[in-house]
């Protein structure tokens, strides 16, 4: 261990310490509970500042982690998600009488897991990061311990997550057996020396690892857990769950692809990945049409969105990677915007969050409704929103790689998606308020978070060059 190694992971260390402090403070000074959210948010901000001012030495800890501009990019949106979720969680937890320090502690721990995952240069560290992320989330999903749906969500995520972890671990074991190393770079060297055709062990390992990744990304056919877990989890947790694990996992996948270049190793790679992407888009969007619960609808929409983002991995290269990164950042703000509003537009956590319950809110609660409408249009990919820029970039990457058909399928799938996104807007603005108008609250923290997301959706939609430059800097390091 040397000072460089320590400095490189200072943000993670800070978050782990603060997470532990919050858990302990809950036990010893419960009077401070209302301040925990602010502490968690401030810790995330401090971690982001450390990341942006600190060194980016590349490989540290004997090659276990890579702290590079790509890692900085991913950390930025993970930490932004933590801040936003901590902000909207305050009023939510107060309303549901669950303001415990463990919530924020676990939030910080899972963020650290995601940050480690996205920096991993060793397959073993991939697994460690993933487990830290997932186990914290299992508890968060079931945080309403008296609520049946919440427990069900935690239980489902646990069972499926454990299964996915097992698949991934088995895949890692096979890869280790074939190459004798956990390091991605070293694995790549071994694989390059021995052609893959005669190496079924590596192929099987890759396939199993991909399946494990697929579960975490909720890609078809590994998606079945998503709707129940999204619906049952506390809404701020759903917001976090819908963006952070996926963002980190997809970057990990990109690192694996950049190192091992499976698209060059096996001719089956591209069709396989393209099939997964297309199936996720088609199934996600079609089934989302049938949903009556906003959270379930957003779960299926999330399946479709990972399908779009995966197009950037299929069309792997500089453009593709930039597209993926911009997509993940865009997805973070628009999804959290949507869940922030949903967390406010709800009277009771035991009842479903029906789309019909939004009727007429557009004119009653204009600010939050406007944000939700904006998030819907952004998810549908309508300019001038960041969602459009993101879709444009991944489709452009596909066209430039000679995969124009993938872009055509992508836009057709977005066409289908417009139907259910626009339906939310329809209920908000074109349906009258019901006789018994629901008594939704609009706490100021939710307004602040929603406003920040709305600003990001439009601001990055009209001036995307800042985001694009950051993504390009990040992508360059991976494809040097």
């Amino acid at each position: 261990m040397n000072p460089t190694d320590l400095a490189a992971v200072a943000p993670e260390l800070l978050l782990v310490v603060m997470g532990a402090v919050l858990v302990l403070a809950d036990a010893f000074v419960p009077a401070l509970r209302p301040r925990f959210g602010a502490v968690a948010g401030a810790s995330a901000v401090a971690a982001a500042i450390l990341r942006w001012t600190g060194p980016l030495p590349g490989a540290v800890w004997s090659g276990a982690l890579v702290v590079d501009p790509l890692a900085r990019f991913v950390d930025s949106y993970i930490l932004a998600a933590v801040v936003l979720v901590a902000v909207i969680a305050g009023p939510y937890l107060a309303r549901t009488a669950a303001s415990y320090g463990e919530f924020y502690g676990l939030l910080l721990f899972s963020a650290v897991g995601a940050m480690v995952l996205a920096k991993a240069d060793s397959l073993l560290v991939v697994f460690i990061g993933l487990e830290l992320l997932s186990i914290s989330l299992y508890v968060l999903n079931a945080f309403h311990r008296d609520s049946g749906v919440s427990l069900e969500a935690g239980w489902k995520y646990l069972v499926v997550g454990a299964f996915a972890s097992a698949l991934l671990l088995f895949g890692i074991a096979l890869l280790y057996g074939a190459t004798g190393t956990f390091s991605l770079a070293a694995t790549a060297r071994v694989v390059a020396e021995r052609p893959l055709a005669g190496n079924p062990l590596v192929l099987a390992g890759l396939a199993l690892a991909l399946a494990g990744f697929g579960f975490k990304l909720a890609l078809v056919p590994f998606h079945a857990w998503a709707p129940d877990v999204y619906q049952g989890s506390p809404t701020p947790v759903t917001a976090f769950l819908s963006v952070v694990p996926k963002g980190a996992m997809l970057v990990t996948l990109a690192r694996v692809v950049a190192a091992l270049a499976p698209q060059a190793l096996t001719p089956k790679w591209l069709p396989l990945l393209a099939t997964i992407a297309v199936a996720s888009q088609v199934l996600g969007n079609l089934v989302a049409i049938a949903q009556r619960d906003v959270k379930r609808m957003l779960a299926y929409s999330g399946i479709a969105h990972m399908g779009y983002a995966l197009v950037g991995v299929v069309a792997f290269g500089f453009d593709g990677l930039v597209g993926v990164l911009v997509y993940l950042a865009a997805y973070t703000v628009m999804n959290i915007a949507a869940f922030a509003v949903v967390s406010a537009f709800s009277e009771s956590e035991d009842e479903p969050h029906l789309i019909t319950d939004l009727a007429g809110q557009g004119w009653r609660r204009p600010f939050l409704s406007f944000t939700l409408a904006l998030a819907m249009f952004s998810l549908a990919g309508i300019p001038p929103t960041v969602g459009f820029v993101a879709k444009f970039l991944v489709f452009r990457a596909a066209v430039n790689q000679g995969l124009a058909w993938l872009a055509v399928v992508g836009v057709l799938a977005s066409f289908v998606s417009v139907f259910f996104y626009v339906r939310v807007v329809y209920y908000l603005y074109m349906k009258p308020l019901p006789q018994r108008a629901p008594a939704y609250l609009e706490p100021w923290p939710v307004r602040v978070a929603a406003g920040a997301c709305a600003l990001a959706i439009v601001g990055l939609g009209i001036f995307p060059s800042w985001l694009l430059n950051a993504a390009e800097t990040a992508a360059k390091t991976l494809l040097r």
Binding site: P366, I382, P384, L393, V399, L412, V418, Y429, M430, S465
Partner: protein
């Protein structure tokens, strides 16, 4: 005076920026919102007039050009430019928008803020699409129109407004999403040929898209089809017109005026601006198809209009006919017919805008648009009758008014190349007179049988004020079309290489 290098941006952004500022005003300040939105649209009109005065018709290329970097690594720029074609359409848009605000001064009384904001954002989208000289920017503005129009139809529309609004969105997006892929592919072709990334219109003109074999293996045919589908839905070309009667009928009066007056023009503008010069061989090959569809649209639209019982639906179907003439003029491909088509775009905006405005006037008084509910109005509303007659005569192409010049140029320009199509299309002129004059007869001349109609007040000064500029331009174009034809001639010659 304003520096020239911001003039186009000022035209495009004024309505939208004012609209966003109005969002911050309180809900109750409807009076303020009405006045500010009207003044913003008048300011836009003044700026458009300034652009007209600075415009040099002898120069065929884009003028008042603005170019700023936006996403340099992808080759996307904020590029605006104006030639004669965009100038006349910008003038039309800027003229119609204040009329819309005046006409909805009283008829929109619920959620005024939302209405004026949507209208102003819509105007920015339309003006931006006419002035963008970067394909990415064009697409952004093109889609920007979608959301405000969805709200205008869906919130302030008639009984079946939801159906109409969703249909409008889905139809429009069905075409434009494929156009997005085509735009990306076009840039890819340009990169393959030159090694630079660009979405600039002038660059794309130099990209020679390979023609290939057949349809599915011909990049140029496929790109042409993707662009043409987006524009043909917007026009709308038969048989893609089915969204139009719903959207026009259900939209509030102001929405119908903008929809018919300006939004449909974006379709024909796109065909002329993009399809024609970017894919010349595919254009040539698709000409018979489009001429056929245009002629079917002319006759079919007229026949269906004839059968309508709802005045607004009748006017909506008359749009199908008129837009058919414009498509005919574009695909006939001579300078005369194209000039006629461009002029007819303006004419249709004026006459159909006026008709929707006037139908809205009686709807506000009687809350019905059924022809059978009227009759003999000439006796009680003389001023209104006169206005309606002017609009009708302009619409059916009476010499001395604008419609005649446009139709005449289209038909004479197309005749040497496609006499058969022109012969069929000419019947559409006759049918147009039939259904419009029979509408006038049934509404204005039949006996005043219905009691409720006896006490109808005539045009108010506000309604007359909204109609007056339209009538003024109908006469101006009818008497001296050269003012406007001369603006676009060089640009049209450059685009179609005539």
């Amino acid at each position: 005076m304003m520096p020239t290098d911001f003039l186009l941006s000022a035209i495009v952004l004024t309505p939208g920026v004012v609209g966003l500022l109005l969002l911050a005003t309180p809900r109750e300040a409807a009076r303020l919102q009405r006045w500010v939105s009207l003044l913003a649209s008048l300011l836009t009109l003044v700026l458009a007039a300034v652009a007209w005065s600075r415009f040099d018709p002898a120069n065929a290329s884009f003028q008042l050009v603005e170019a700023r970097t936006w996403l340099p690594s992808v080759g996307i720029g904020y590029r605006l430019g104006m030639d004669g074609i965009s100038l006349v359409l910008v003038l039309l848009t800027a003229l119609l928008q204040p009329i819309v605000f005046i006409s909805s001064w009283r008829s929109i009384h619920d959620k005024v803020k939302g209405y004026v904001v949507a209208m102003l954002l819509l105007e920015t989208g339309v003006l931006g699409a006419f002035l963008a000289t970067d394909l990415f920017l064009f697409y952004v503005f093109w889609e920007l129109m979608l959301v405000p129009m969805y709200f205008i139809i869906g919130v302030w529309g008639g009984e079946r407004r939801i159906y109409a609004a969703v249909k409008f969105v889905l139809f429009t997006l069905a075409g434009s999403l494929l156009m997005l892929v085509a735009i990306i592919y076009l840039s890819f072709v340009f990169h393959a040929q030159t090694g630079t990334w660009s979405f600039a219109y002038e660059d794309m003109l130099r990209a020679a898209v390979p023609m290939g074999q057949g349809f599915w293996h011909s990049p140029q045919m496929l790109l042409f089809a993707a662009f043409a589908l987006a524009f043909a839905i917007k026009v709308p070309v038969f048989p893609l017109h089915t969204w139009l009667p719903d959207a026009h009928t259900e939209a509030p009066t102001g929405g119908s005026i903008i929809l018919a007056g300006v939004l449909l023009k974006l379709g024909t503008y796109g065909l002329l601006r993009f399809n024609r010069p970017l894919f010349p061989e595919a254009w040539h090959r698709a000409t018979p198809l489009f001429l056929t569809l245009a002629v079917i649209g002319i006759v079919y639209g007229a026949l269906v209009a004839w059968a309508q019982k709802d005045m607004k639906k009748l006017v909506a179907y008359s749009s199908v006919t008129h837009m058919g003439f414009i498509v005919l003029g574009l695909f006939a491909g001579t300078v005369t017919s194209t000039q006629g088509a461009l002029l007819q775009m303006v004419n249709h905006g004026l006459s159909t805008g006026a008709l929707f405005l006037l139908v809205g006037v009686v709807y506000d008084r009687r809350h019905t648009r059924m022809i059978e509910d009227f009759g003999g109005l000439a006796a009680v509303m003389p001023l209104y009758t006169g206005a309606f007659l002017i609009a009708t005569l302009s619409s059916i192409g009476l010499p001395g008014l604008n419609g005649f010049v446009g139709e005449f140029l289209i038909l004479t320009g197309a005749f040497p190349r496609h006499p058969a199509f022109v012969a069929v299309a000419a019947t559409g002129v006759v049918l147009g007179a039939v259904y419009m004059l029979s509408l006038v007869r049934r509404v204005f001349w039949n006996p005043l049988a219905i009691e409720a109609n006896r006490s109808l007040p005539d045009l108010t000064w506000r309604e007359a004020l909204a109609f007056a500029p339209l009538a003024f331009f109908m006469v101006w174009i009818g008497v001296h079309p050269g003012t406007f034809l001369s603006l676009s001639e060089t640009a049209v010659r450059r685009l179609i290489g005539g």
